[in-house]
Structure formats: structure tokens, C-alpha cells
């Protein structure tokens, strides 16, 4: 034990590889896909899938704790798990390439994260194995509804057990499902994906009655209603999905099929967030880093070098802005690192996960906004990607819990308040 910040070798190696991918397959296509909304980046999907298979990790989901060192000579030496750390680092680098294209990375995504957090070992084995198979495969999370955003207790989608057939019958409407289309629609180039739908099995029980259901792609009654047209991350599909009398096998419920007074079902959803919030934070940081690096490059071209170590009084405004942005970016990344380090070491990290998300949401929006501002008219032009990063970055403070919801989570944690004490 010691305070250390040395990236483990496997992570450094992975970063080097992914940087090339990010540059060659993502950054170079950024503008094209931004201007061709909803076109699927097949080249990236197929390449990253085969590359990840070749590297041994079939998806961006940490299935088992990864060893921290690839050396084989130290049998018996206990290695710290670094699965989430590796994942956060990968995501940051891919998002640095292009966050919209990164959201097209096959593998479990948020759907698989939900299965991992709330599913039994059998369910994990059954639903997660597919991501390592021949074809790239997607899974999505469906929680938000037209009338239920941050307030998940307002979810109206219902699941009723048909006692005769032992099937769940699900009805409702879901929106804002990232990769919902690629997870549900049976594209020839893709493997069989699934969506994880949150529904109430007992509307009188409030959040305690909330459960997640795995719905396989192509299941009758599910319809992709539309793909949203968005401010940024346009290459990522954001689906609206309707569910009419959708029949789901009994065993596809994640968590207990009966409602106890406890909040296990809802807590399942929330513990998913403890794992995924730092990862979403990492994706925002990738965008912000791209923007800040670009700004520094442009400033250098124009003869502006940032002088470090000077008192504020001697700095130009631009230098001061750049220095402040570097402070934001570095500290936000370290908050992600701490949250994933805790996840890897099985320490409860609800506070750190939400703080990392707050910080990332704040700094990614601020940095990208500032970069466009400092670049002046060219910053606003679509000739450069700065304006796109500005649009892409904003979602970081919204999805996977808005900045405000995360403030609520943090406030409850630090004050020791329940949801009813601090509403």
C-alpha cells in the first residue's frame, strides 16, 4: 500500500495501441459521421471487435478482474485488479478519437453493466458470453421514459407475470436508449443483442417494485419508434422504443421476482451507476482533452506559449485560461481514477463515482466552451472539430445522471441523508 500514480504496463500498452485506432479510424472520420447522422460506422465496429477479440478482451466490459502485470515469474504474488481502470483508460482514449464513434463500440455497454450489477451468476454467464463471439454484438439500457428522466420512480412501464405461461408481459414506452437500435434491430453484420428494460412489477411498491428485464433482439411487440436527432454524438443512435404486450421468459428478470419491502431492485439499478458513472465521466474527459490539446496546438502555431510557474499577475488571460483548463482536466481524470480504483478493489464508491461524474460534466462542458471561445471565428467554424467537441461534450453532464442528480447523490452521502430527508 502506498499512494501511487504509475499506470500499469498493460494499460500503457493498450493506450499506445488505442491511440492509433483513435487517430486513424475515429478522428479522421469525425466530421463525416457528424454530417451523416445515423449512418452506422461499420468499419470501426468490425475493426474494434476483431481487435479486442485478438487482444483477449471481447468487449469493453471487465468480466473478471484483470491482473495488473503480465509478467509470469511472480507466482503467489497477489496482484491488484485493474479491470475498471483499464476500461476507463480505454474509453478516455477512444472518446479522445471521437466520442460518438466510441459509443458504437460493440460489447455490453450499459446493458451488460446492468446484467453484471443486478443479475445472478447464471444470468451473467448466459447473457454476457455472446460478446466474445464472431460478430460484434450490442446491448443497451432502457430506463428513461417520456415522463420519467432523473426521477426513475415515475417509470410507468409495467411487467406482469402471466401465471399460465410463466412469462412476463411488458408494456410501456422508452426513450433515449443509447445504441438501442443496434442492440435490438437484427442487422446482418451484428450478433444477437439485447436491451435491458426497467419496469415495475408492482406499481404500489414504488422503487422497490422496479426490476430490469433482458429482452432479446427481435422479440415481438418491441418497436424502434425513432432515432433522435441530436446536438452532438450524432453517430450514436439514441432510440425511442415502444413495448406492446412483449412476452419475456420468466428467467430474464434481473433480481428477485417478488417484491420485498427492501429496495433491492432499485438499488440494483443504482449500483449499475456506481460502476458506469466513472466510465461516462472518462468519455467526457477524452473529448475535453482532444479540445484542449487542439487549442494548445493552435496557440503554438500562432506563437502563444503557455508559461507555467508564473504568478497570476504576470500571465496573459489566455495563459491563465489554459492553466485553469489543465487543472480542471487533470483533477477530473484523477477523480475517475480513484472511483475505478475503488470499484476494482471492491470498495463502495457511490460517493466517488458521483463526484467523478459531477466533475467531468462540469469540466468537459467548460473546457470545450472555452476552447471554441478562445479560437474565435475559426472555433465556431465547422472547418475544425472544436465546435463538434463543444456539441459532443454537453451530453456528459446529462446522461448517466445529470449533474444535478449527482449533486443530490453526493449531498445525501456527505450529509448522511436518505432520499426522503433530502428530496
Amino acid at each position: 500500500m502506498a499512494i501511487e500514480f504509475e499506470s500499469p504496463k498493460p494499460i500503457v500498452q493498450m493506450q499506445t495501441v488505442l491511440k492509433t485506432v483513435a487517430q486513424e479510424m475515429m478522428r479522421s472520420k469525425s466530421r463525416y459521421f457528424d454530417e451523416h447522422e445515423h449512418e452506422i460506422p461499420w468499419d470501426y465496429i468490425e475493426f474494434i471487435h476483431s481487435a479486442m477479440k485478438a487482444m483477449g478482451g471481447a468487449s469493453l466490459t471487465p468480466k473478471e478482474p484483470l491482473p495488473s502485470s503480465t509478467g509470469s515469474g511472480e507466482a503467489g504474488h497477489k496482484r491488484s485488479p485493474i479491470g475498471y481502470q483499464l476500461l476507463a483508460t480505454q474509453i478516455e482514449m477512444l472518446a479522445w478519437g471521437d466520442v460518438g464513434i466510441y459509443l458504437n463500440t460493440p460489447g455490453g455497454g450499459l446493458g451488460a453493466a446492468a446484467v453484471q450489477a443486478a443479475g445472478s451468476p447464471e444470468q451473467c454467464a448466459k447473457f454476457l458470453a455472446r460478446f466474445g463471439e464472431e460478430k460484434p454484438t450490442f446491448a443497451a439500457m432502457c430506463m428513461t421514459e417520456p415522463g420519467a428522466g432523473s426521477d426513475t420512480s415515475a417509470i410507468r412501464t409495467k411487467a406482469v407475470l402471466d401465471e399460465k405461461t410463466k412469462e412476463w408481459v411488458i408494456n410501456g414506452e422508452k426513450i433515449f436508449s443509447t445504441a438501442g437500435d443496434k442492440s435490438f434491430t437484427q442487422y446482418e453484420k451484428l450478433g444477437k443483442g439485447f436491451i435491458v428494460v426497467w419496469a415495475s412489477i408492482d406499481s404500489s411498491a414504488g422503487r422497490a417494485g422496479m426490476r430490469a428485464f433482458v429482452i432479446e433482439s427481435g422479440t415481438p411487440g418491441v418497436r424502434i419508434v425513432k432515432l433522435e436527432h441530436k446536438m452532438g454524438i450524432r453517430v450514436s443512435d439514441t432510440a425511442a422504443i415502444s413495448l406492446v404486450d412483449v412476452r419475456v421468459p420468466f428467467e430474464n428478470i434481473l433480481g428477485s421476482p417478488t417484491v420485498e419491502k427492501t429496495m433491492t431492485g432499485f438499488k440494483g439499478a443504482m449500483s449499475t451507476f456506481d460502476a458506469t458513472r466513472p466510465l461516462v465521466a472518462a468519455s467526457g474527459i477524452g473529448v475535453a482533452r482532444a479540445a484542449l490539446e487542439f487549442l494548445k496546438e493552435k496557440l503554438k502555431e500562432n506563437g502563444v506559449e503557455v508559461r507555467y510557474g508564473l504568478p497570476r499577475q504576470k500571465l496573459t488571460n489566455i495563459e491563465r485560461e489554459v492553466i485553469d483548463m489543465e487543472i480542471m482536466l487533470k483533477s477530473a481524470w484523477l477523480m475517475v481514477m480513484k472511483a475505478v480504483w475503488m470499484a476494482d478493489n471492491k470498495k463502495p464508491n457511490a460517493l466517488e463515482a458521483s463526484m467523478s461524474k459531477i466533475k467531468s460534466g462540469d469540466v468537459t462542458t467548460k473546457i470545450t466552451q472555452k476552447v471554441v471561445e478562445i479560437l474565435g471565428p475559426p472555433g465556431y467554424s465547422r472547418e475544425f472539430l472544436a465546435e463538434k467537441w463543444f456539441r459532443d461534450a454537453k451530453i456528459t453532464d446529462i446522461y448517466e445522471g445529470t449533474g444535478q442528480i449527482n449533486r443530490l447523490v453526493v449531498a445525501r452521502q456527505i450529509l448522511g441523508y436518505s432520499g426522503s430527508e433530502l428530496r
Binding site: I3, W341, V410, A411, L415
Partner: protein, 365 residues
């Protein structure tokens, strides 16, 4: 590896420092600020914790090894108790740590043991100058080599314990670079103002203006010897101390206002149950954590000799200073009118909070 868990030794040290900070420093804090005096016994007890002694190797009279990471952990805890008290306890570091980091063997042998042996002695350093654009890398005080000795001229501000200090490490511009010079008490041309500095905060800490008029310093007293030294690691260690001190003050203000918000009622509920207050606290907590991690990483980089360590220490100090201003301001705001009353320490912390942007050089890890 990446890890955020202090070593067992560090945890023990932090625990001991925390006890002293809460039981001794904090309880004396208000009285010391009002009376402009720190009780001698209070400083003596803090010195006995051995934070500095443990960072000096045995060969120079200490019992440990220098580590910036251990330093930032300890100083945050000390300052959590009281900033002025912490700076007093750690004042001898201002003299000893630069000698340890940049001094030559003779200087280490001569000065380190006597600085740390036995009870607390007033050893100090003079970096800050009284100018709006004060820049540690472009000092007005200067040193010229003449006939085998250095002649120092200039004026230093906010020098802790200068009146009684056995030795002062004076920083001056020499051949365009910032260099340290070991100046002894009572040397001709060195004069310390009788009157203490009067600042917005830090009233309990005796700070003085120091004048140097043709002060002659033997060439062997240049830090690092005749060829001098690299100022960057010293400056970075000052930045780190400033950063973790800012975090200590901010944490004190955060915890105080958090506890107050959980007690104080308005409109039938605790004010902490209002999002307007709760969100302020959430942001304060988040920013404290952000700057602490940046400071830890910078300290680790300095210990490891990473090339961007100096820049990162500067970033940590800059960011932590802004953070401390924001957090301490909000702490006063959360207490409302009560926050403005001097009996509640938040107002002092807010005055402390403003200082970090210009007071790098009052502490070193």
C-alpha cells in the same frame, strides 16, 4: 500501479497529527488569532510530532526519509487544525527542507542536525517580496559575487519568526536565477522590522519585514555551494505545501459549515435539507477531493523525479488556491450572518483562504 491508499506508516502519522490538530491547534485557534499570539507550548507539542524530523535521514540527525507525499498528507492535517499554528510548527522546514533538497554535503552536515535536534527553534526562510507582481523566479532582492563573497541587497516580506531566527535562508536573484543564501542572525546589514506585519489573516503568526543592505555572505553559504542549485524542486515543494494547506483550510471550513447546516433550522427543516445549501456542500466536497488528488499526484511525481512534476505542483497550488477561496466563501455564506461573526471560525478561514494565491513560500513539504 495506481493506488490511493496511504501506507501504514503514513496513516499512523496522519492519525497522530489529526489528534493534535483537532485537540490542540483547533481549540487554540480563535484565541491565538485574536490575541496575535501562539502559545509556546502549543508549538512545542506540534514539533514533538516529528513531522520534519521524520523527513530527514539519520545521517543528518533525523529518523526517516524525505517524501513529498508524506509531507502533503501531514500538512493538510496540521492545517485542518489551524493555519497559523501549522505554519509555526513547520517553520523550521522552511530552512531545513531546501538544504536537504538542494544543499551540499557540508551544509547538510552543519545545519540539519541543529535545526531538528531537541526542542523547536526558530529557523526560517525569506522568499516573498512586497510587490503586486511578486514572482519567485524574478526576485528584486539580488546577490552579487565580489571578492569571494556574496553581497545581498533587497527587502523581504512576511518572513516568519525573523526576529528570533537563528538562521534565515534568504532567496535572491543571482546571475538571473533564484538562489538560496544561508544568512546568520546578527550579520551586519540585516535588519528586521520591530513591528510585525499586519495582514488580513494569519494574525497569530509572527511575520516580519526584513531588509538586506550590503549583507555579506560567504560563498560557501550559497545553497548547494559555489555552483549554486536548481530552484525548481524547492519551488515545487513550496507549491505543494501551499496546495495541501489550502486543502486543509477548505476541509475545515467545509466540515464546519456542513455540521452547521445539519443543525440549523429554517422553514421547519434543517437548512442542509434544502438543495440550495446541499448542492453547495456537494460542490465544495467535490472540489476539495479534486484538488487533493491533483496535489497527491504532483507530490508523487516529485518524489519519483518525473519531468512534469514541477508543472503539476504549480497547477496543484494554483487550483487549490482557487478552490480554497470558493469553499471558504461558501462556508461563510452557509452560516449566513453567523458566518460573519468572528466567534465562528469560518470567517477566519475565509480570510485565510484568500492568502494562498500570494503566500507560496510560507511553507514547504
Amino acid at each position: 500501479m495506481v493506488s490511493f491508499e496511504p501506507s501504514e506508516e503514513q496513516q499512523m502519522l496522519v492519525e497522530a497529527v489529526r489528534k493534535y490538530a483537532s485537540n490542540d491547534l483547533r481549540t487554540a485557534s480563535h484565541e491565538a488569532e485574536e490575541s496575535c499570539e501562539l502559545p509556546k507550548k502549543l508549538v512545542a507539542r506540534g514539533w514533538e510530532l516529528g513531522v520534519l524530523q521524520a523527513s530527514i535521514p539519520e545521517s543528518y540527525g533525523g529518523f526517516g526519509e524525505h517524501s513529498a507525499v508524506t509531507g502533503v498528507l501531514a500538512v493538510e492535517e496540521l492545517v485542518f487544525g489551524d493555519l497559523a499554528g501549522a505554519l509555526a510548527v513547520m517553520a523550521p522546514s522552511l530552512f531545513a527542507v531546501p538544504i536537504l533538497l538542494a544543499g551540499n554535503e557540508e551544509q547538510k552536515k552543519e545545519y540539519l542536525p541543529k535545526t531538528i535536534e531537541g526542542v523547536w527553534h526558530p529557523y526560517t526562510a525569506a522568499l516573498i517580496e512586497y510587490a503586486f507582481d511578486f514572482d519567485a523566479n524574478d526576485l528584486r532582492t539580488h546577490a552579487e559575487l565580489a571578492n569571494g563573497e556574496y553581497i545581498l541587497n533587497g527587502e523581504k516580506a512576511f518572513v516568519p519568526f525573523a526576529k528570533d531566527a537563528e538562521n534565515i535562508l534568504v532567496y535572491a536573484k543571482c546571475d538571473g536565477k533564484t538562489q538560496g543564501f544561508i544568512v546568520s542572525k546578527n550579520v551586519a546589514g540585516l535588519s528586521v522590522n520591530d513591528e510585525r506585519e499586519k495582514l488580513m489573516g494569519l494574525n497569530a503568526l509572527p511575520l516580519y519585514r526584513v531588509k538586506l543592505e550590503d549583507v555579506k555572505v560567504p560563498a560557501s553559504n550559497r545553497l548547494g555551494g559555489v555552483s549554486g542549485h536548481d530552484f525548481e524542486p524547492v519551488f515545487a515543494s513550496m507549491h505543494l505545501a501551499s496546495a495541501c494547506a489550502a486543502i486543509g483550510v477548505a476541509r475545515a471550513a467545509f466540515e464546519y459549515s456542513r455540521d452547521y447546516a445539519k443543525e440549523r433550522e429554517a422553514f421547519g427543516v434543517k437548512i442542509a435539507q434544502k438543495q440550495a445549501v446541499a448542492f453547495m456542500l456537494a460542490e465544495m466536497r467535490t472540489e476539495i477531493e479534486a484538488m487533493r488528488l491533483l496535489t497527491w499526484e504532483a507530490a508523487w511525481k516529485l518524489d519519483q523525479g518525473k519531468e512534469d512534476a514541477f508543472t503539476e505542483a504549480y497547477l496543484a497550488a494554483t487550483g487549490a488556491a482557487d478552490m480554497a477561496m470558493m469553499v471558504t466563501d461558501r462556508a461563510v455564506q452557509i452560516l449566513g450572518g453567523h458566518g460573519y461573526i468572528r466567534e465562528n471560525l469560518v470567517e477566519m478561514w475565509m480570510r485565510n483562504g484568500r492568502g494562498f494565491a500570494m503566500l507560496t513560500g510560507l511553507a514547504i513539504v
